[in-house]
């Protein structure tokens, strides 16, 4: 009786681990299936039971996706250009504004900061119609610039950088100022180099966010030649979802390469930035 009870409690002790591992399988299985399917031929792609191993290694689907009627090569190029330009823009504008809001005294600072925080609350779905009319007026519909221009700065990025610059010890900046350095020099030579980890987080979050974005691109871009990755994938799938599944999974594999790279190499840079605001009361 006692032995049975202790065995039961040992088993119950393993339950959390079993639950966690089941959850982990559920998180990874779709990606494993995606990768395995990306190697299949159109004939074996629908095999049941499904293939879970990417064997035999076969890259034909990748070549087909890159050069197909919906050219993924073009979409990769479009998405890369847009994501890089938006990221570079935010890396210039956000730390400057964040630093000014945290560390410089100028008239109107409080009011501007409140306006900025308020704009964090406005979902793009609410402003999409005026934005579309604006882009139409500027003849930028179906032009990547319609996505780059609104992305060159962001309230989230400014807020993230402001939070970082607030944590800098005042003495460091003061010492440079006493040495006669101009506000610009203090920022450029002292504050900005210290902000490297936050800048890395901002770059990763901005790049991935732009790379993954669907809503605005789907409304501003309407030709195959200007499609970004998510749009190209949806076009490949087709309105009746009749696209070649092996080729679509090859395309999806390429689309998630940046996310996978962050998963492998850069997760630690963004985790604290994303969670900090939630943990501190």
């Amino acid at each position: 009786m006692n032995r049975a009870a202790s065995r039961l409690s040992r088993l119950l002790g393993l339950l959390p681990l079993a639950l966690l591992l089941t959850g982990a399988v559920a998180m990874l299985a779709p990606f494993v299936w995606m990768f395995a399917t990306s190697m299949q031929t159109p004939l074996t792609a629908y095999d049941l039971p499904p293939h879970w191993l990417p064997l035999p290694l076969r890259t034909q689907n990748y070549a087909d996706a890159l050069t197909g009627p919906v050219s993924l090569m073009t979409a990769l190029f479009n998405s890369t250009v847009i994501a890089i330009l938006v990221t570079v823009g935010q890396l210039i504008t956000c730390p400057m504004a964040g630093y000014a809001f945290a560390r410089l005294r100028f008239p109107g600072r409080g009011a501007l900061l409140v306006t900025l925080l308020a704009s964090l609350m406005v979902p793009v779905q609410v402003t999409v119609i005026p934005l579309f009319l604006l882009m139409r007026g500027l003849h930028l519909v179906d032009n990547p610039a319609s996505l780059i221009l609104p992305g060159l700065t962001g309230a989230f990025g400014v807020f993230l950088m402001r939070q970082f610059f607030l944590t800098l010890p005042a003495e460091i900046l003061e010492a440079a100022r006493v040495d006669g350095a101009s506000p610009w020099t203090v920022y450029r030579r002292v504050a900005l180099p210290l902000a490297k980890p936050s800048l890395a987080a901002l770059a990763i979050i901005t790049f991935l966010g732009t790379w993954n974005a669907y809503f605005l691109p789907s409304i501003f871009l309407n030709s195959v030649n200007h499609a970004t990755m998510p749009l190209a994938l949806v076009l490949m799938l087709g309105p009746y979802k009749t696209g070649n599944v092996a080729m679509i999974m090859a395309a999806t594999t390429m689309a998630i390469v940046p996310a996978f790279a962050v998963f492998l190499f850069a997760q630690k840079w963004i985790v604290s930035s994303l969670t900090q605001s939630g943990v501190k009361g």
Partner: protein, 301 residues
Amino acid sequence: MHSQRPSKTPGSRREAWTGIAFVLPSVIGFAVFVLVPLLVALLLSFTQYDIINPPRWVGLANFARMASDHRMTVTWGNTVIYVAAAVLLINGLGLGAAVLLSRKLPGSMRTVLRSVYFFPSLVGLAYVSIIWQALMQRDTGIVNYYITLMGGSRVDWLNGTTAAMISVIVVDTWRNVGFTMLVYVSALQEVSITLLEAAQIDGAGPWRTFRRITLPLISPAIFFNVTTVTIGAFQIYESIIVLTGGGPGDASRSIVMYLAEQAFHQYNMGYASAIGVSLFVIILALTALQFMLRGKWVHHE
């Protein structure tokens, strides 16, 4: 914040000019791409506008039409269900996973599992939906394959009236649960072990300790996650487009899909703006309500 008035020394004047120059690009960006569009959307919501003819002022007609528009009621209803499901499931499962991950685990398993759970949050919702729509196909999808293997019967995940919404909720939850988990894990790390041990010495069981000590201490994280997930879930869009196309009929269509359809397929820009304003007002009111209730249940140290 600094409250003393800046003295008019050359240094402080230079600092003020630098500050203005530093914030100018961002302020112009917000004005042009957020604040002015918001005001224009508000104005357009009182007009009839088909993009060819100039907007015509119609007063509150769009809002009156919303009240009697059956499709609006349906898509708003669906959206409310998506939001409620997201808030409950993404937070419940995220907190559950975080609690399990905070226990003693062999080796570096905690770090590995944490990254694995977080990975889908890094992948765009459009991409994960493309994978899931293949998995959820009625005849060729592997979800139904394993269901029938275990003796169940096929479910029409993407085209069934109830199943379509469930599929959207499953994919949304699956993708976002890792984010809330991450926030909960870091919040749980801050909970003092001494406090938990003291409670146990006082004879409190694990559930009572969790309820009375852990939960209040991580309430800021709960607040943050509930607010973020609520705002995000109101905007649900591309997963529905890829998975169900909003169907069957309007059975899984969200309010943002209906807005986009009215604006960019039917060119009812005025009516679509009114829908957008309703979305904004509801998100704003709910967030304000959450902040007002914050004081009642969120613990401050």
